[in-house]
Symmetry: C2
Subunit: 390 residues, 2 copies
């Protein structure tokens, strides 16, 4: 009985889901997932906020609500963009979504016709590849360099193909940890504007810069066509699934229609709890605590690479975020390394799921969800697996 | 700049969204929305449950979680089907979704190819029409009769067209309030099985039967092809957006892939709070309270129709749920009545959004979200608007 839609034929399997099954074994140290450090969750504060909204406004916070999201929360997001980056975004142009992952799905839905060409980074966020795949586009990809997107490659693609949008993660990219420099952003914005191509700018990690200074979003340099995503998953809590997308009115109208069909609205209680938390506490203090911790964890991981890994292995030195990217010599397959690593009770994500093709000589390591001691031990194990190839 | 996907060309405007703007005026009595009665929300109990899960397991309840949903909640749902209807559904075949609305979107995504023929009720749930529209099917529809779906019409369609699935709401249907009888369900199951057509059985109101006895889901009478939806929005709280879909393994696998791309997982904190609430309290007692109240509200509405409406108007007498359906004489347009009703400070949903075409001589009234006194006053106003046509 062949009754599924043809779009389901083209979805890449989620390798990460398979890995997660392996990591149920408590002996395993996992650098595979993309989990924030739960020791830093503001549990007491969230509890206070939850009690407060229920006691003061229970009937409303438990009722159905609007598709667009809680207005004061959208105002807060608007205000913070202005304060942090002098970026003016009208609250009316912000839609609250179930994490920024849902924003990707809604954007795919409103933009992608079958066979449309869309552009992603190489390597790219696999959740985006998976989500967009369901709308059956033709993927194009552009390499990342140390300072951002490869502009020459980008221009070649823009000249040759009719690109619907470019999707990228300019801050501490997933999986590479790379950040686009200020000049790279400005040039990127110019190029996209010249070719009238929208930029879907995903920014889940932007607040987590632990080295150097913040750089304004690419959207700051685009008059039109900048679609900016954000999330409270990495700064407040992940399980609430509260993210957002900023888009100009015409796009916003379509997103609202798509969101309404998709689930009516995002969990309103959690929107109210987050807003209460943001009102009663200084989020910047909390973010500073996260950054302090991730900085140490990332330093420990780099230290361990230097101390334990064989020579001939290169890696990124992210200035923020949660991931670090390792490139192996061409004779080592990360899939084969994965098998050996499992035998040593440590796991990571092999490179190929982040590529449309190839990418097997790289791997992604997550440092946010392990203590320094665990990172040290895990990296010892990983280096043991690595050395077996030499 | 024509850059949206063609699927966005075909979405019906949401008339209800427009109505909601009108109802921001506090003078207006609204029978338009589909809101549960907030006076019955278990606010204190939810608060207790929230505090409990945060205190006992804060790090986990705030962390990312699995796409399928919290396993004990899926076990609870499975067990309740068995206890209530002797229906065996494996917890592995239950996916937690953002309200049952998201289940509709995911089902549309995995099943509908462009131009596939799908079948809905006439009148039908407009959220389903809107959501499925985005996958660009060809809609077919089958009339509802007093005891359920019109089987003759159904067979004619099944013979003629290659139907991908039939979507229906057998209990206290939205918008009509109609319930499929036991024999109607059995015949429907037989017909669908004979033609190998899946049934998407939406059941948001099934627990809210205030007259007569429960009837088992249509799925009980189908060996294969029964996809059953459910929700806590009408029995616990709406704002959490916790619903579910039960489907056989092959379909479940596709749904999980679609769900992962759509938003990774449903708000995990709220899943845990609902489960804690279900563990610590007797939900049946709570549901009984809701039913008692809705029964009185529905009786008041029928009483008011009898007392105030001009003759020649027919209406359904729902045995549960939240809606009642009114059919007007052919010379009264419900859109024109709507304008006059707004002038009298009362609103409802005109019939046509529930139809693929036509339907203007009917309207939907919600009785769950107004007290008996408000229902009485609102119906007086509506009858005044009605009488102006005579």
């Amino acid at each position: 009985m062949k009754y599924f839609a043809s779009r389901m034929d083209h979805v890449p399997k989620s390798f990460i889901r398979e890995i997660l099954k392996v990591t149920e074994n408590p002996e395993i140290i996992s650098f595979a997932g993309g989990l924030p450090n739960p020791n830093l969750f503001p549990i007491k504060e969230i509890q206070e906020a939850a009690v407060k909204v229920l006691e003061s406004d229970g009937k409303n916070v438990l009722q159905y609500s609007t598709t667009e999201g809680y207005y004061p929360l959208r105002e807060y997001i608007s205000k913070r963009y202005y304060e942090k980056h002098s970026l003016k975004i009208d609250p009316e142009e912000i839609l609250i979504t179930n994490g920024s992952q849902q924003a990707l799905d809604l954007l795919g839905k409103i933009f992608i016709n079958h066979s449309d060409q869309i552009l992603i980074e190489k390597p790219g966020y696999l959740g985006a590849i998976q989500c967009f795949s369901l709308y059956q586009p033709q993927f194009r990809s552009v390499s990342l360099k140390e300072d951002g997107i490869c502009l020459d490659e980008l221009e070649t693609v823009l000249k040759k193909d009719k690109i619907k949008f470019f999707y990228g993660v300019p801050n501490f990219q997933n999986p590479s940890g790379i950040t686009y420099s200020l000049s790279n952003r400005k040039e990127l914005a110019k190029l996209l504007t010249r070719y009238s191509v929208n930029f879907i700018e995903d920014n889940p990690y932007g607040d987590l810069r632990f080295i150097g200074n913040d750089i304004p979003p690419v959207r700051s340099f685009m008059e039109e066509g900048g679609i900016l995503l954000g999330s409270f998953s990495k700064t407040v809590v992940p399980s609430f699934r509260i993210g957002w997308v900023c888009a100009q009115k015409e796009i916003m109208n379509k997103l609202v229609i798509a969101k309404q069909g998709a689930d009516l609205h995002t969990n309103y209680f959690s929107q109210r709890v987050v807003m209460q938390y943001l009102t009663d506490y200084n989020i910047e203090n909390h973010i500073n605590k996260i950054k302090e911790s991730y900085k140490k964890q990332r330093e420990k991981m780099v230290e361990a690479i230097e101390a334990y890994f064989p020579k001939g292995i290169s890696y990124t030195r992210p200035e923020g975020g949660m991931f670090l990217w390792v490139e192996l010599p061409s004779f080592i397959s990360s899939m084969k390394l994965f098998e050996k690593a499992v035998a040593e009770n440590v796991v990571f994500v092999p490179g190929s799921p982040f590529y449309l093709e190839g990418g097997d000589n790289a791997l992604r390591l997550n440092f946010s969800n392990s203590s320094e001691a665990v990172i040290d031990e895990g990296m010892r194990r990983l280096s043991k697996a690595l050395k077996s190839f030499f």
